[in-house]
């Protein structure tokens, strides 16, 4: 196939590559080989994502018709700066976490089931990328369920009997969410006769006063908010993240909720349009307080967690609040802040969860108490954890700072003092919960016999991905031209007709 042909089919390739890898992993069924295959596939998908983003930045948004069927009858993939950006984040996180996974999975998952983990991982990746690229609402549902089912499997593969329980709880909530979404899509179809997002965007405004459209909006938003773990619909998240194998947690933390947020923003801004969503439905009146409450409550809860995985999971709930807050401010700066935070948070949180994975690999447990004296035993891992934590806090020169800058700016633009104050105050809470870990690791002497003898520095194959992400946290904190630039472009695209 020639290069131009490959370029033309990039959107399909992003979905097809991981999708085809999944059955292969089952056929091969040898852990080491399967891992190689999966890693290759992740890297390939990432390359495709880079190609997509480059193409969008060069040529602007473009449409890809699946099987050559024209929309609205056929399914089309519509690529603009926003979804190219999200695909880049998702595939990037996967491409970093997968190389890390081998050692981690060896320790945490039974050998004869490891290939299933890689298979589910590839399916989850397929689903997540699919949600991001597609321009068809029902197709979103299908990909949503592909990724969700795969995710439930991934979570259930964690150690101990709590993992299947967490997976089932996640499954119940996730299925309810997806079904809500399905109801909403059905109602919209009934009113407009279309499932294509762009087509819907044109057909909704004339019937915007219909009660059915309003109900459709509510069902879709509720369903996606459940998937995105918007406070107070977040209860499933800490359990699922806490129980999943370390590498899976890192992968999910960087991708799953982000994609749900992407879908939410896409539906709210592109399909319904900001005027309908924030004017007629007054969505921001609900969204901003919930986002802020999530930021505060989840950060505060994180401070009191003893298990570090759960602590970071609650922190994720808070960070989701930041992303949705940006959307709720309905301005270019706000949306840019929210979208760039998807990117920055993926960098920071994946780095942190991977660092925890290193600790789990060597120490076994990841509680605050088990950190004592670890700064000496695992210097590189702990340094990475501290630096990743700084990015989470939003210290200048780290990626996290860039998001906060935009969010505070957006809040001040609208004279929302208290919003800016809460955003900044929550940074202090983040400082407390990450600082606690640093303090224990560096300044609390190790309890004699507290750390197992194998608690030495993690293997290189695990450290390299962690430090790669830490490095990127600083790179994108010092020069945010690319990350914030594309996010700005995406924000302008979403606001499109409004302004």
């Amino acid at each position: 196939m020639s290069a131009t042909a490959v370029m033309a089919h990039l959107p399909a390739l992003a979905v097809v590559v991981p999708l085809m890898t999944a059955p292969l992993t089952v056929l091969v069924n040898r852990p080491a080989l399967v891992w190689r295959l999966a890693t290759l596939s992740c890297l390939l998908t990432f390359a495709v994502a880079v190609g997509l983003l480059a193409r969008v930045l060069e040529l602007g948004p473009f449409v890809y018709e699946i099987g050559g069927w024209a929309a609205p009858w056929g399914i089309e993939y519509r690529i603009d700066a926003f979804n190219a950006y999200v695909v880049l984040v998702v595939t990037g996180v996967s491409a970093v976490a997968m190389p890390f996974a081998r050692r981690s999975v060896e320790r945490e998952v039974e050998r004869d089931r490891a290939y299933l983990l890689y298979c589910a991982w590839m399916l989850a990746l397929t689903g997540l990328v699919g949600i991001a690229v597609t321009g068809d609402l029902f197709n979103v549902f299908v990909f949503l369920e592909i990724s969700s089912l795969a995710t439930y499997v991934l979570v259930s593969m964690g150690r101990g009997r709590a993992a299947p329980l967490a997976a089932l709880r996640y499954l119940v909530v996730g299925t309810v969410g997806a079904t809500f979404f399905l109801i909403g899509v059905g109602l919209l179809y009934e009113m407009t006769g279309s499932l294509n997002m762009a087509d819907l965007a044109a057909r909704i405004p004339p019937i915007a006063d219909s009660r059915v459209v309003h109900a459709g909006f509510v069902f879709i938003v509720l369903g996606l908010a459940l998937k995105a773990a918007l406070f107070p619909l977040h209860a499933w998240l800490p359990g699922a993240y806490g129980a999943a194998p370390s590498a899976v947690t890192a992968f999910l933390a960087g991708t799953a909720t982000k994609v749900a947020i992407y879908a939410l923003l896409r539906v709210v801004f592109t399909v319904f349009g900001a005027r309908f969503a924030f004017g007629t439905m007054a969505f921001d009146v609900l969204l901003v307080p919930l986002a802020l409450a999530g930021i505060l409550v989840a950060s505060a809860v994180a401070v009191f967690q003893q298990d570090l995985k759960r602590m970071l999971a609650y922190s994720s709930v808070a960070q989701i609040g930041y992303m949705l807050l940006g959307a709720g401010l309905v301005s270019e700066a706000g949306l840019t802040g929210g979208i760039v935070h998807m990117f920055n948070h993926a960098l920071a949180k994946t780095a942190l969860f991977l660092a925890l994975g290193c600790i789990a690999y060597r120490v076994g447990t990841v509680t605050v108490a088990s950190m004592a004296g670890l700064g000496r035993r695992m210097p590189w891992t702990m340094a990475a954890f501290v630096l990743g934590g700084l990015s989470l806090v939003g210290v200048p020169l780290t990626a996290g700072f860039v998001s906060k800058w935009y969010l505070v700016q957006a809040a001040l633009e609208r004279d929302l003092w208290w919003v800016a104050a809460i955003v900044l105050f929550a940074s202090v809470l983040a400082l407390i919960y990450t600082g606690r870990v640093a303090e224990a690791a560096y300044f609390r002497p190790a309890v004699p016999g507290g750390l197992p003898d194998r608690a030495r520095e993690a293997p290189l194959s695990m450290l390299v991905p962690v430090w790669l992400l830490v490095g990127l946290n600083f790179y994108f904190g010092i020069d945010a031209a690319l990350s914030a630039g594309v996010a700005g472009e995406a924000a302008r695209g979403l606001l499109g007709g409004v302004s």
């Binding site: 700084l390 806090v393 939003g394 210290v395 200048p396 020169l397 860039v402 906060k404 800058w405 505070v408 700016q409 001040l412 633009e413 800016a420 104050a421 900044l424 105050f425 940074s427 202090v428 400082l431 407390i432 600082g435 303090e439 560096y442 300044f443 609390r444 002497p445 904190g477 010092i478 020069d479 945010a480 031209a481 914030a484 630039g485």
Partner: protein, 492 residues
């Protein structure tokens, strides 16, 4: 090497040096040689920039544009020059002192200590050389984070609690208030560059400017204005060289320096002198001066007493900045230098006493003058300079600050300064007086001459001599301080 390159190299050198310090951790002699060499070269580089700045040059270099319109910029102007000179010179002296102290005191984790120390100096130099508010904020935070491990150095429960207070107050004020103020400034002025005459001049007035000023003053927790001063006494659990350089010079001076920069280059003296809020904050600074002195009198722990003295002295500089007259700003700039030399001498003495005799309380020091005459003499010199008596440098900055209060028509604040000098006498002078004339309570003190290690004594003698020298030759620093507001002065 061009001037701009020198700027960057001087900034990065301590940080780079810290890597080598870290790598040479297993060989104390190599490690300390690297520390000294780095400190020496840094001082030489900074000093080589002095003539350029004194001649009116403003070396400036844009490193990278972090966000659209928000670049990392280095620009050296007179006030920054002054601060950079003080910090880099005293780093050399403190390095000498630290070697004696850390070895004499058998501290653990010395490599981590030297690494963090060097990074802190990079942070302080970055604050001095920052060309806009964003860059200043970046290095302000670097300084906070790099000094945290130094505060918690010993790892005891007390040290960790102090570390929590330290980080808690400094980071929450800077992220919560200062960052908000910076973003707001950006929204109003469309830029963050330090501008002679004031970035905000003519763009805001009245209540908005007042709130913004409060955000800045309270957002700079390092300036330790009450009620945000708690971190400073808490930080005294750190090893003495840290207290000496960082908590008497680099960190706290970075705080007041930030306020001074904001006063001169963000608000501009014209705007600031019209603000009602500025007056009220100046009174709060006055209150801090008196209240901290009163607390200092009641502290028996020597380092705690010196810490409260620092809180009080920092508010002198805040007062000078907030009164926004030509004399008061010059006085504030000079007080950065004068107080630095005076206070570091006192801390060096406190550390020397601790190393030689393991005494930490003022009440234990009676009769110590016979055993440690050099140290106690230096302590007397430092005290007199802090009080502001000739023939020591502290006199000059107080002189200009006092003149500034009169320029601004604030006789009450003049009274505050005078009262504070009396209080300084009351809490500082009894210490050397007791040491020389008091009766030893402890029989070992009656014994012969027993000073701290050579390196410690050499360092404290040097800074004590500095106090005297600054009385004779204050002019270079006075010039730098007045240069900062010169364009404004001529426009009147």
């Amino acid at each position: 090497m061009s001037v701009e390159t020198t700027l960057v190299v001087a900034l990065l050198l301590p940080a780079l040096g810290s890597i080598f310090v870290g790598l040479s951790g297993w060989h104390p002699n190599v490690r300390e040689t690297v520390t000294l060499a780095t400190a020496g070269i840094t001082l030489w580089l900074v000093a080589s920039l002095w003539p350029v700045v004194a001649a009116g040059g403003r070396p400036r270099i844009e490193l990278v544009e972090t966000l659209p319109g928000v670049p990392l910029v280095l620009e050296l102007e007179p006030l920054g020059m002054l601060f950079a000179l003080v910090a880099s010179f005293l780093w050399v002296v403190t390095s000498v002192y630290a070697i004696g102290y850390m070895r004499g005191h058998h501290e653990l984790n010395q490599t981590r200590f030297y690494v963090c120390f060097a990074v802190s100096i990079s942070g302080a130099l970055g604050v001095a050389m920052a060309g806009n508010l964003f860059t200043l904020f970046v290095f302000y935070e670097v300084l906070t984070l790099a000094t945290y491990p130094l505060v918690t150095h010993s790892g005891t429960e007390e040290a960790r609690r102090a570390g929590r207070i330290y980080l808690g107050i400094l980071l929450s004020t800077s992220i919560g208030l200062q960052l908000a103020a910076i973003v707001w400034t950006w929204a109003i002025a469309g830029g963050l560059d330090f501008t002679p005459g004031g970035l905000l001049a003519g763009k805001v007035d009245g209540p908005t400017a007042g709130i913004l000023l409060c955000l800045y003053v309270f957002g700079v927790g390092k300036a330790a204005i009450m009620p945000l001063h708690r971190w400073l006494p808490a930080a005294m659990v750190a090893p003495t060289p840290v207290s000496a350089l960082l908590h008497a010079v680099a960190v706290v001076k970075a705080g007041v320096f930030t306020v001074l920069k904001v006063a001169v280059y963000v608000f501009g003296l014209d705007l600031l002198s019209e603000l009602e809020a500025g007056r009220w904050l100046a009174y709060l600074a006055g209150f801090t001066i008196i209240a901290a002195s009163l607390i200092a009198m009641r502290k028996d722990n020597l380092k705690a007493r010196l810490a409260y003295s620092t809180v009080s002295q920092l508010s002198y500089i805040l007062l000078g900045a907030l009164l926004a007259t030509s004399a008061s700003v010059a006085g504030a700039g000079m007080h950065i230098v004068m107080h630095a030399f005076g206070k570091i001498t006192l801390f060096f003495c406190a550390g020397a006493i601790m190393v030689a005799t393991h005494k930490t309380e003022v009440s234990q020091l009676a009769g110590l003058g016979r055993r440690m005459p050099i140290t106690m003499a230096a302590f007397l010199v430092g005290s007199l300079s802090i009080i502001g008596l000739p023939p020591f440098g502290g006199m000059w900055s107080k002189w200009f600050l006092a003149a500034g209060t009169l320029q601004a028509g604030e006789q009450v604040l003049l009274g505050v300064l005078m009262l504070s000098s009396l209080l300084n006498v009351a809490y500082l002078l009894p210490i050397p007086a007791k040491a020389f004339f008091g009766k030893p309570t402890d029989r070992s003190d009656a014994g012969g001459f027993q000073e701290a290690p050579m390196a410690c004594v050499a360092a404290l003698v040097l800074t004590a001599l500095g106090c005297a020298l600054l009385f004779i030759e204050p002019d270079p620093f006075h010039q730098l301080a007045t240069q900062a507001i010169a364009p404004l002065a001529t426009s009147h």
